[in-house]
């Protein structure tokens, strides 16, 4: 496969090396002359010196025949632009962009740049998984389907403790799908009691998490 990588920093350089080792044809574009010289020593003719957001540079790298374009510079605006031009101007379907600041992910999304990979965001998600906030785990996120499945531990001071599910008055889009108790589990009905120590599995429309927090989390534990 012919792949163009834009940005010769740590990410781009390691990526290019691995892709070449996997028998792909790779061109790496780096704008900074000093960094270009360093990368060129290792990757030789696979590297060109130029601004990868300039159309003539992309064309001299042969973007017309590229099957994949991967912008991984340190600037999100550059990565967005390069990805957008690769897809919309050159019709390349496989585009993977690096997002440096996870706050910019929404811009990538808005301008149709998908997938965007943010190392910071990945690490943040791992941290959340490893150190769950107030006993709440994301078991499954289905962004395309707009659904999430959460697992929540019930503590003595949880507003849901010792209540029937019907009493929780859960809105549409939120469903308790099972209760795990004493090493077993069951699918509850409206009359089922939620006990302290239970783990409750809930399926919900993405965005309804605040409702869950309100109904299940002890007040003191809620995110500040």
């Amino acid at each position: 496969m012919y792949i163009i990588v834009v940005g010769g920093g740590k990410v781009g350089r390691n990526l290019a090396r691995e892709l070449i080792a996997k028998n792909n044809e790779v061109t790496l574009i780096e704008s900074d002359q000093r960094r270009y010289a360093i990368v060129e020593e290792e990757l030789e003719h696979n590297v060109i010196n130029g601004d990868g957001s300039e159309i003539w540079v992309l064309e001299s790298a042969g973007i017309g025949r590229a099957e994949m374009v991967i912008p991984v510079t340190g600037d999100d605006e550059d990565n967005i632009l390069i990805a957008q031009m690769a897809r919309e101007r050159y019709g390349i379907e496989r585009v993977i962009a690096r997002c440096n600041n996870p706050r910019n992910l929404q811009h990538f999304d808005l301008l149709g740049v998908k997938p965007a990979v943010s190392a910071t965001d990945l690490i943040l998600r791992l941290i959340e998984h490893e150190v769950p906030r107030y006993g709440m785990h994301h078991l499954l996120d289905l962004p395309q389907e707009n659904l999430e499945i959460l697992e929540i531990e019930i503590f003595a001071d949880s507003p849901a403790a010792e209540k029937r599910i019907a009493e929780l008055d859960l809105p549409e889009g939120v469903l308790v799908i099972s209760i795990l108790r004493d090493g077993g589990g069951f699918v509850p009905i409206g009359d089922s009691m939620i006990r302290v120590g239970d783990e409750v599995l809930i399926v919900l429309d993405a965005g309804l998490e605040p409702v869950i927090t309100e109904r299940f989390q002890p007040t003191a534990d809620r995110a500040a």
């Binding site: 957001s53 550059d78 101007r89 929404q106 811009h107």
Partner: protein, 141 residues
């Protein structure tokens, strides 16, 4: 009309001053606190005293754009020193905030031309200069 201008260099600050003089409400955003000095130069009263507003922040940050009032802007000017930044924030203004009058400065003629075809109002000073120089050369000959 309420105009938000992202990027307060020579271009952004000049547009800002003209717009304010013409009686429009103007809000300027720049990441460099010194940029606001450009808004004060050549005038007897400061930008703030004249009723202009200045927000310190990075144009790509949504919070900064919101602080500058992008959500109620009638017109948006992208005039930072980065072509790619301008093209991205202009599309944010257009698609996310539905601003109809969005103007983008793009120094690179090739990118300016392509994004104009995609429906952005790009203004390319380089292209304008090229055309003026060409015309001037013809006059000499």
């Amino acid at each position: 009309m309420f105009v938000v201008i992202a990027g307060c260099g020579r271009v952004g600050s000049s547009i800002a001053k003209t717009m304010l003089d013409e009686g429009h409400e103007v809000s300027v955003l720049d990441e460099d606190p010194r940029a606001s000095l450009l808004l004060d130069t050549g005038l007897d009263r400061s930008w703030a005293e004249r009723g202009g507003s200045f927000t310190l922040g990075t144009a790509l940050e949504l919070d900064a754009l919101l602080a500058a009032g992008i959500d109620r802007a009638d017109a948006f000017v992208a005039s930072t020193h980065g072509d790619n930044t301008n093209l991205v924030i202009a599309q944010i203004a257009q698609r996310r905030f539905g601003i109809e009058r969005v103007v983008v400065r793009v120094l690179d003629p090739a990118r300016a031309a392509w994004y104009r075809e995609q429906g952005l109002s790009t203004v390319c000073p380089t292209q304008v200069a090229v055309e003026m120089l060409e015309a001037a050369v013809r006059e000499v000959v």
